[in-house]
Amino acid sequence: MEAFRQAAFYAIVVALVYGVLKLVQYLDIVHVPENYGDINGLEPYSSYRIDGGLPFTQLRAGDAICYRLGPETERAVQFGWIAALPGDDIAVSDGTLQVNGTPSPHSGKLPIPDCAALRIPAQHLYVLSDGHQADSVAHGLIPAIAVRGRLARLP
């Protein structure tokens, strides 16, 4: 009986710790900065919950992510879609981003001359947004350390 009580006690402690950790993750939210306009339909001051604890290796092409461009301030928070992951080949042809030979869905007409293929290096991403003001078109490869987390979706 005593052993059962002890096991139940430890189970409750573990469940509480797990619950707290989940709650912390649930409360991991980002706010869209003032004057933001790089993703169509993403309203300034709106909030989004992010999956901040997700390992970098679990990110996939097409995922919506939140990342930082500069020191940790809200103003530096940016949003975009992952166009290419480490090991992918990207190139630009007639203003369209090609990922492994296929046009990227978020490319649009890029202000970049034709570029031969670049192999995305380890721990880096190529990220696209609608306005290309703060994505990889403007800033180049985004390092893993700059990624704050994955969003369920973007508008």
Binding site: R68, L69, G70, P71, E72, A76, P86, G87, I90, A91, V92, I112, P113, D114, C115, A116, A117, L118, R119, I120, P121, A122, Q123, H124, Y126, S136, V137, A138, H139, G140, L141, I142, P143, I145, A146
Partner: protein, 426 residues
Amino acid sequence: MRILIERLGLRTTGIILMVVAAALLVIALLVAWNAVARWQAIAALSGAQLARLGGDEQSARRDLREAGDDLPTLPTTVLPGVDLGDESAAGRLESLRARVPARDRHDVDTVLALHRALRGQDAGVEVAGSDATLLTAIRLTAKADAAPAKLTYDADLPPHVAILQAALQRQFRAAWVAGDGEAIRRSAGPLLLMAPTAPDAPRLRLILTALSPTVDASVLHAAGGAIGNLDERLALIRALLRLAPVKTHDQLISLIPPERQLPEEQEAALLGTSTPLDQQVQKVMASPTPAALRALLDRALQAGRTDLAKQVLAKLPADAQQPVLVQLATADGDLDTLIHLLGEQPELQLRISPVVVAGGHAAFHVATASGLVPRTGIQIRLAGKDVDPARLQRLASLVVVDLGATTGALEVRYGQKVVASAQVTP
């Protein structure tokens, strides 16, 4: 505890316990201090990467130095701050390699291999995946006259960003020295995609635009305008004139301000290959130079536009006009002018074939000994009257006369001289 007290006494046991407690406290403090230092170093490293991403290179260097100082034995914090251009970095890396645990040694080996490859030396350590092939490419391009080559990658292990960047930069340098436009595009494009805010990015953008098979003039002008330093821009444009397709040359030259253009560039700018001939004449007439006038005359004559050639001719100095007048008279088939300019010469003597009559027509060939077909000065009379031009047909040297119902003498005159005659009947 009781055994200890019984054997050592209360006082001695107390002292021993205090010593053990103090030792444990020291160990705990050391662990805590190490954890704080590690946290600070990782935070500094993260700050450095973000500062670099935000374009603040000064802060990035400061943060990297801090990270290395906080944890001088952790590769993750030390390696990003290593200056690979510094010869003494090899010693620091080898020293670090000896101190780090075996599990962290691979990172040090990779940076050490890059340091050696940049100097054309063998890696001397084991490096796997795409890094290995790129390091070989870097080592092979260490010599100033190395030929550019296509980079290859491992399908499973993507390269480290620093190694990829170094390999692309070396390939670009080799391609530029070799004047290999295709190899330049192969390395300049990825470099621009990797770092579009780098100081070299505007130059890469202009290079890629100029070497592109299809060039948009407005895009090329925007790319040229992005290079603020005029001397730098001019040097790059002149280098690109040796590499870019000929059809792009006039667009590239138009990026050079007129007051900085060399004589041959002024000429090329006036005679843009993509500009219609009439507009070229207008541009040259507005600011004529002898070289541009001569080049334009040749183009007008080659295009059969003697009307434009005559406009240009008027701007040439008198002594330069004579040979052009001969060219013009030849192009016009103006035998009178040719004889006037060159005098009577055997080559300018008219030759006329016998007149053949058939089907109500008389026909003959007329040309000079040199093959010139005169288009002016030939007069044809039938039965004492000039033949109506509507009844004449000319096909190169062949002249066909519609006789109608007229019978009589057919005379061919050049000036006042009868050069051929025949009695004809329809």
